[in-house]
Amino acid sequence: MSEVTDSISLYVAWDAGEAADPKDAAWARDLIRELEILLPRMVGDRLSDEDQPRIIPVEGFESLPSPESFGALSVLLLVTPSRERGFAPAAAERLRALAADAAEAPVWEGRILALGRTPGRLPAPPPLDTLQGISLPDLSQDRVTEVATAALINASLRLSRDSQASLFISYAHRDGWALAEALSEGLRGRGFRVFRDENRDSDGMTSIPAGNSTQEVIQANILSHGFLLLLDTPEAEKSTWVREEVNTAFGYLLPLLSVVVESPPGESKVRQGGRFRAVRELEREVRLSSEALGYDKTPALEIAVEKALPEIATQAVEILLEHLRSRRRLIHGSRQRFETLRYSWKIHGKDRFQFAAERPTPRRHVTKRIVVQCSPYPRLLRPVVGSLNDCFRAAEVPFNWAVLVHNALASQDDENEALGDHHFILLLRPHEIAEEAFP
């Protein structure tokens, strides 16, 4: 197994051995070849050379990576075996371990994408039988693009949030319900994790005051997902709930894409960028005709959604890669600043962007050691503090400081709650890294 890094890694695994279907290996190699051509084209100069995605072949399920070596931005593309063949107990155990996120329940989607080579291969055998998977009857460019898009989105969403990240669909029930439903289904079929709030929005509300429980609900909803897909319909513009969701996404630095639906015939055309002034500034949209409006699914709506899905996926990848590049500045910037202060810098923890910064002191044989964790997500504050604390306490050679460099927004209460008794952990922005911060 190659060395683990914190860049995007796509593991392509297939069944091997005497009893395995020999076509699987050939098909997987073809897929790898196609991905190697396609990925650089899709990513382009959106990521630096060192951040370009890597493809790692895994021949045989017994060679699946261990959870420790499965990087923070890794995705496993698994060529599913037939149901009769299934997974050996050891491989099933490894898959469960890979999908497990800390103490939480297994997170199959997002970390593992099941690829069905033939129609009979989906759903995959247990324990992946709950996974929707992507059907790939051929390796045409469109199909491979679908797989690459899903893999990139699932990996880069994780740097926006955590391993459970998903696309959050924000919409007004009154005229966007059917569209939200159709889009969720379509996107899930393409390997995306999607979240759609089933509760009816309170369109009757005229404002959501600070500290109101509605606002807390919205914040919790948005912040537990990584990407806001806004359905910009005439009713959405009037919905206080949707407006609050958009504001929260903006305020908390989340990526956002607007699906603008034209107004009913006879009304004026919606201007470029959509109805929301803040979103218009982003100069991105996917536009649908007014047939997509309404509370009932119609054939016209389904056709419109089917046509729009590739465009939504492509734009989502572009946005997420841009965000990924910006988020990684947190890591590069932290490193640069520590190096300016004459610290050495090396990877310490494999999964959650942990680093060790060291510098000799004027006292002989004494080294200043700082464990640095880079975390760009507000919702991860608590688990990240926990993992930093574990690392600080368990280090064979003791650290002098534990520093969490983050770009999260958190209230004082959230911070205090996350920090608990770990008052030795210093929270910093990258530009706050300075000699006087840790004397």
Binding site: A210, N247, G251, L253, P255, H323, L426
Partner: protein
């Protein structure tokens, strides 16, 4: 544990201007829209953590960021009851229901000033556009009068429908008032439209020429923040204490009161030109008069407290001379009290002028500087003499008693 900062920008009113640059410009310079948003968030946070105040014009993309950051910093820095953000809202861009929304959603952390009457459905498109243009101009003037310095992040170039980009207009106004401007991410179309102005703005803004160039082109939000804070801290250190708060009609309470009174803005029909309800204008002026009166009252309370404290100190340490410190303190309170009294009288004069104005409309002007109220007369007015002179006499008397006893 958070890193703690000294109040190196205490009371500094930092105007924030900007717009998301065009996507093509961002891509060419290796930026993303997230970098711009992050830079805004970092700068707001850093200014607030150092005791500064953010002043902005309710930019739709930046307002949620300012809101999130200001709420994060709520209660973290001592600012003597002042809110940490001042938000100017151009009335004709919003409808009456949105005024109530603004009050509910932002008044916990910001003072909101509504500039001009809100939008009404019965206006024609040309009237609406003219009203917006005019009140946007007024808002920019007020903002540049109030702010001590302007920080611009991003900006757009000249477009067919916008001959002068907003950031450029705001930076120019600050330049005319000889106030410093810091420009970050001045790239693409904006840099082109501002190329004549840029060399002038780079002067005397707390940064060297090389630092200014880095600020304009830096692609990392952290670097942008570091440079801006450097510039602001240097400016703050050289200007020392900022001027006392400008006397502006204040805040959300006023906007809410206007709503409760269901005041109608009648004369917008006559747009272009700033015209509005006289009643609401009088309410605005009355708000300032009330505030000045409250300031005077608070000062008198403080004067008594300080004198009592000094005497307690002098008596407990048997050091009668300590009590003499009350003399210059009282004098300072008297001077300041007289200042507020004068301001109150200026606004009373403005109130009378608006009240007696025969024309039905008003321009909502809060400029009371044209009236003549002599400071010396206010200083020696009855209400001041009767309070401060006996207090001064008391100080001297107690000093004599304490000296005698010791």
């Amino acid at each position: 544990m958070r890193r703690q900062y000294a109040p190196t920008l205490a009371g500094f009113r930092v105007g924030l201007s900007g717009a998301m640059p065009d996507r093509q410009d961002l891509e060419e310079h290796g930026w993303s829209e997230l970098d711009i948003r992050t830079a805004v968030a970092y700068v707001v946070e850093a200014v607030l953590r150092r005791g500064g105040e953010i002043v902005h014009g309710n930019h739709p993309t930046y307002t949620p960021l300012i809101q999130a950051m200001a709420r994060q910093e709520l209660g973290r820095s001592e600012r003597g009851g002042r809110k940490q953000v001042r938000m100017y809202v151009v009335g004709p861009y919003i409808q009456v229901v949105e005024v109530a929304q603004l009050c509910a959603e932002h008044s916990d952390y910001a003072d909101i000033e509504l500039v001009g009457p809100w939008d009404r459905a019965n206006l024609s498109e040309s009237e609406r556009a003219a009203g917006r243009k005019e009140w946007l101009r007024v808002m920019r003037q007020r903002m540049s009068t109030y702010a001590d310095v302007l920080v611009c992040i991003g900006g757009k170039g000249i477009r067919p429908d916008v001959p002068i980009p907003g950031v450029l207009a705001e930076a120019t106004l600050m330049g005319e008032r000889e106030k410093p401007v810091l420009l970050a991410a001045a790239i693409g179309g904006f840099a082109q439209s501002a190329r004549e102005l840029l060399p002038r703005l780079r002067c005397d803004n707390g940064l060297s020429g090389e630092e200014n160039e880095r600020l304009e082109s830096a692609g990392d939000p952290s670097e942008v923040t570091e440079l801006i804070i450097q510039g602001l801290e240097r400016l703050w250190a050289t200007s020392l204490a900022p001027q006392p708060a400008a006397l502006e009609p204040h805040n959300v309470d006023l906007a809410c009161r206007l709503l409760n009174l269901e005041t109608t803005i009648a004369s917008m029909d006559k747009a272009p030109g700033p015209t509005g309800s006289k009643d609401s204008h009088l309410q605005m002026i009355q708000g300032v008069i009330d505030r000045m009166g409250q300031n005077s009252f608070s000062l008198k309370g403080w004067a008594t407290t300080v004198v009592a404290g000094l005497f307690a100190l002098a008596a407990s340490d048997s050091q009668p001379k300590v009590s003499l410190l009350a003399l210059p303190t009282l004098l300072a309170f008297w001077l300041l009290d007289a200042y507020y009294l004068r301001q109150e009288h200026l606004y009373r004069a403005l109130f009378d002028q608006v009240r007696l104005e025969p024309a039905p409309g008003t321009d909502y002007s809060m400029d009371a500087s044209g009236f003549s109220v002599r400071y010396a007369e206010r200083f020696w007015s009855f209400s001041e003499r009767v309070f401060y002179l006996p207090l001064l006499a008391l100080v001297l008397l107690l000093f004599a008693v304490l000296t005698f006893l010791s």
